[in-house]
Assembly symmetry: C2
Homo-oligomer: 396 residues x 2
DNA sequence: TAAGGTTAATTTGTTTATCAAACTAACTAA
DNA sequence: TTAGTTAGTTTGATAAACAAATTAACCTTA
């Protein structure tokens, strides 16, 4: 075992700190870095020159003088490489090609008809290949791939169960790494969404946040101290099946009164069913009616919002997060849910807790999961830049 | 700012790792340490000699040879110093004097009549002084003090609110540090209990656990990756006020259907009231009847157990912990609650999660909080052994 | 416009913690 | 007795951070 540290560890840590400082506060000079992180000027110079050599950082010329020699400003080289993020959704999959800063370079939505693992995998492979074609020139090419899956993913990247796809024990990692290298990350869709919003969206300034993915069911990603909380064997965050009404409606999990029977997109659609005569309404139908001021629909949305608040209050009382971000499909109805939701949350959470917690809707909209998934290989790559260069880099 | 590392940091980290290895696996030799943690033999020797010099470690002579020179076995010097832990309970306070391994050296229970902060503080001070008198000789004396409080404690050690004591904004830290030095730790009673069970009790082998303190209300301490999860401003874990029955009984917090209205000691006492004609029963009365096979009482306990299971299932689904430890008063009724509790938990938690989570009752019984509180200054002291030597050490 | 002051970045030499290798010490087994 | 094994220390090399000195490039102002 090797759990202790030596000088190389220190250097790696300091180099990472320097790189992250540049990423977050760019543009800035070597002298700035030294004063911000407290590292000696000489050491900063040395580490920066290594970062420049590996093309992760570049100089963009002199900045404003503050009375003496002009500083040489540094920039994170966002085009040093790219990453691909895939969100497997219920009817389609969304794939994005992003640069190292998470900016979307190219995007693709592919409808899914056949949910069998083999077919979906084929679609994923094809889509990834498509995104990798005609890449802008870059030193590292595509550094890795992240996939968000609507189901349980264990610590060995195995998809244990994905009810909405009808999957059990599917090994996406094995299948993809054979073609695309080792920097492949498979994670739960809500976990990926949480990371996406934390890095690029509503949670940028929060260390503790809960991302709620509300679609057919309710899933969540819990971020504690900046890192994802994973629980035993990676199965945390199944908040949709928390009991909020002991003798409530029957849930597909076999229980009664699960939160998602009362506050998910499915709950909304089920209850809206009686208001439509000719066909089962879609979320879009409902929103259209709401926009036109349909009283009954507005009341229904208010009721769902209130039920949302009940579960939120539980989460606030239990975990006292800085921020709750609501994402996925139901966030489209945010405007009609917000008021009732916040009101119930206010009533049902403890006063000291309520004051501290903010509730927001996803800033990345429908892309939270895909962007979060893409960030996984980027983070891994930047922590250890030698590890993972895909074929894209080798065949430019 | 100084967030980067240098050689001193490395040395401190490695020294801590060496010390913790000795604490956990003693007795063992320098060579053992080297092979366990991967540090070079020479480095281990150097660090160990410093630890011996500071009297935190001692040699206890040669061990069995395995074919060559006999190893010199090392032991953590559990009597290098002592710590005091105090648990402020509803009717009394429990104070313990422990050695550096958490062994109880002396113990004191003091009844509380007047709950005003001043009076309680006086009692605490008097009790601490009593425990510090006639200490066994030791190099460091009492290294610090930890206090567990039944209420919200913020990150600056301020007691924001303790409803059962009628406290608001009480500064225990200031008052105690004036007399006893700076290594004073104030924390929520359930947080301290969680740490106690983690270090010395049922949670020794678990990295993620939830400690439930079930007395008048239900509090919890959540340990994630070996560390306490604190939430924003240190207010996490108020699980007692999670809604499990939307239109259930009114709670003292103003809500309906909070878990603690259905599954706490108070819920049990309230509901048992109708079974006793002459007086309001105590938990002890109830347990006596249960022991004698009183059907109605047994049914009531079963019902409480089942309600316990509902909330447990929520926690399992949300946090998927390795272990849930139930402590404080209601754990005394563990034998009568267990079956119904586990059965409901089984029914209401998701199958993949249930398999992984164990539920246990506190191994330290009523002492979880006091021992956990005492561990706080010990941990702080061992992380930085120069910091905190109380007057006890100066006036031996 | 030359001198003095200021800020940026690099160079030089010192410190210090780890490590590998060689060594001493102390034992076992045949 | 001797060869082999394990424990622990000593010695010298290495590498990373640091302080101080130095070079570089600017600004201000008399």
């Amino acid at each position: 075992m090797k759990i202790t540290g030596d000088q190389q560890l220190i250097k790696k840590m300091n180099k990472t700190i320097v790189l992250n400082t540049i990423r977050q506060q760019q543009p800035l000079s070597r002298a700035d870095i030294s004063s911000v992180i407290g590292l000696n000027k000489a050491t900063v110079s040395s580490l920066v020159s290594e970062l420049i050599e590996s093309q992760l950082v570049s100089e963009i010329g002199p900045g404003e003088s503050s009375g003496g020699r002009k500083p040489t400003l540094l920039l994170f080289n966002r085009s040093a490489g790219f990453a691909i993020g895939v969100d497997i959704r219920v009817n389609d999959l969304l794939a994005v090609l992003v640069d190292m800063e998470g900016n979307v370079i190219r995007e693709k939505t592919v409808p899914l008809e056949d949910y069998s693992p083999g077919k979906v995998l084929d679609q994923i492979r094809k889509t990834i290949r498509g995104l990798m074609r005609r890449l802008p020139a870059s030193p590292y090419g595509v550094v890795g791939i992240g996939i968000g899956v609507p189901g349980l993913v264990d610590e060995k990247s195995q998809v244990i169960s994905a009810p909405n796809l009808g999957w059990d024990n599917v090994d996406l990692y094995e299948a993809l790494s054979a073609e695309f290298g080792s920097n492949i990350h498979i994670d739960n869709e809500a976990n990926a969404g949480a990371i996406g919003e934390k890095l690029y969206g509503a949670g940028r300034d929060s260390k503790d946040l809960i991302y709620l993915s509300i679609g057919i069911g309710i899933g969540s990603g819990i971020i504690v101290g900046g890192d994802l909380y994973r629980g035993t064997s990676n199965f945390s965050g199944e908040v949709g099946h928390m009991t909020v009404a002991e003798n409530g409606p029957l849930c597909r999990c076999g229980n009664r009164g699960c939160w998602e029977t009362l506050a998910s997109e499915k709950a909304l659609l089920d209850q809206a069913g009686t208001l439509w005569k000719d066909h089962a309404p879609s979320l879009e139908d409902i929103l259209k009616e709401a926009k036109q001021g349909n009283e009954k629909v507005l009341n229904l949305l208010e009721q769902i919002g209130s039920q949302l608040g009940v579960g939120l209050a539980n989460l606030v009382n239990i975990l006292n997060p800085e921020l709750i971000v609501i994402g996925n499909r139901l966030s489209l109805a945010g405007d009609y849910l917000r008021q009732a939701m916040l009101s119930t949350l206010g009533k049902r959470s403890l006063s000291y807790h309520r004051k501290q917690t903010h509730v927001d809707f996803a800033k990345l909209g429908i892309r939270s999961t895909a962007l979060g998934a893409a960030s996984l290989p980027i983070t891994a790559f930047l922590a250890d830049p030698d590890v993972s260069i895909t074929e894209a880099a080798l065949n430019p």
